[in-house]
């Protein structure tokens, strides 16, 4: 029957892809800032699912933990701190909508044309079944690659890894300093 024909991989891809696109559109369409944040969380969760499906298990878990669990919590904090009633839902004038819809549609069509025109990308993988599960267990090789030791003779990423970590440290301290609450001159507690 129908269920047997559909192999699991593409079935779940369909599910996660629909979720991701639907909630991305949701972010675009809703005017209430808090709903936007919530739809963004769901959309990024669905993309994490897509990463798992594409065999990037480590990146999927990182996305869930760092991106959704960290960055978006930061964003929601920002939304909470500024969500005074008059800024929560700011309507967008209809004429802007038409402009954006047309431009966005054109860009989308262009990208899709490119995505589906290159034959090399549309060529199916000859024998997907033989990819052993070990192939997708990449947590250890990624860890080693980040510390400079590449197993499949690629280049090590030690240097960019250090740059990124120092960069992140500096940025977070700067952001913390920038956003500290400046007390009014009076309450010198």
């Amino acid at each position: 029957m129908l269920l047997a024909a559909v192999d699991w991989h593409s079935y779940f891809f369909m599910l996660f892809a629909m979720l991701a696109c639907a909630f991305a559109m949701g972010v675009l369409l809703t005017s209430n800032i808090v709903r936007m944040a919530f739809y963004l969380v769901l959309s990024l969760g669905a993309t994490a699912g897509l990463y798992f499906l594409a065999g990037a298990e480590f990146v999927g878990a990182m996305q869930l933990m760092i991106y959704v669990g960290g960055t978006l919590v930061l964003l929601i904090f920002g939304v909470m701190l500024t969500a005074q009633s008059r800024f929560v839902s700011m309507k967008i004038r209809p004429d802007e909508w038409i402009l954006v819809a047309s431009l966005g549609g054109a860009l989308l069509l262009l990208l899709l044309y490119v995505a589906f025109s290159v034959p090399e990308w549309r060529m199916e993988h000859p024998h997907p079944a033989e990819i052993s599960v070990a192939e997708t267990k990449l947590a250890a090789p990624i860890g080693l690659a980040l510390s400079g030791v590449r197993l499949d003779d690629g280049i090590g990423y030690l240097f960019p890894f250090l740059i990124v970590s120092v960069h992140l440290l500096v940025v977070l301290i700067g952001a913390g300093y920038l956003a500290r609450t400046k007390r009014r001159a009076t309450s010198e507690n």
Partner: protein
Amino acid sequence: MVDFFVSTFGMSPTVAAILAAGIQCALLLNVVAVGALVFIWMERKIAGRIQDRLGPTRVGGRFGWLQTLADGIKLIAKEDLTPADADALLFKLAPYISFAASFTAYMALPFSDGWVAVHVNAGVFFILAVLGLEVFGTILAGYASGSKWSLFGAIREAAQVVSYEVPLGLCVVVPVMICGTMDLVAIANMQSAGIWSWLIFHDPFTFCIFWIYFTCAMASVNRAPFDLAEAESELVAGFHTEYSGLRWSFFFMAEYGSMFLVSGLAVILFFGGWNGPLAIMSDKIIGVIPGLGLAGQPNAWGFIAGCVGAANFIMKATIGVTVMIWVRWTLPRLRIDQVMTMCLKYCVPLAAACFLGAVFVKAEIFGLGYLSVDAWLPGLRSDRLEVREGWMTEVEGEGVTLSTEKTLVHGDG
């Protein structure tokens, strides 16, 4: 499970897969629901004992063990009202996010050797990631309830949970580093040679890492002295003030679910998961005396060993939950800034220092190697070699010998 259905009932693999997934979900949902049921009852009984009173005694037989069921039915029957200026959609959705997040983490939690719903290679990492999502439910509940006070509670709790994930992550990395893998089943199997193989006794650093882990776990689950969110004295009931009936019970279940989950993780990482102090089921007790060697065998004996292992695991995790309950009913509550300073000024530096110490012990730098138990009882961690083998086989062939690699593998004797 799937091939079992296919071979015996001749079902098509898809239907079998759906059925298997359904059974596993139902099983896990029951484990969590019954667990929450038992822990709520236990909390009331232990709180009673601590406060020199009896706790529930009348509902359902002698020890009032059906009390929670009665509460559950009352909660279901209670009216789920939504406050007027609440953001209806988010208000209704928040408890389910909280419960879903705390429940999905059970997928990767092994109860016994091989008894795990989804054998995720990076199990520890997956559980930490999903635990991080639970904070969304609280934030949305606080915001969507529309009242100033629940917003206070929500922001406080979010700040606390997010900042306690850092030391929690640091503490979890130490056992992972010692066992070399993030796979929970492998970590627990490495502690199968009696009480000395448990990671908490591995070296002094891991010992105090456990205590930091347990404090941070209590904080990230909002229990005991850190339960700022529902600090009754100032914020009435924090983010779930406006909830009642079934929705409120979902928050309650999420809290107890993640409480058991966090203590379960502690048991696997530090207390040898499903191996008892005298690991009779594994092939070597205390690394020397030959045990029954039943663990992991496909036949009925293996199943019994599995049951004993699961009982071991649940009993140890329940001890962890009891300690959380005990601490809750004795200590007063910390203030929000004290909770934050404790996290940033005490937990994170301490965890980092112990982590550094554990790394030195593991890599035998400064001669610290003799601090660890493995140095004195070499036969303890027999199967650490296979993990290393399975992971690094390609390297041996091409002669790329990692210099650090050779010294790391200590126990190969």
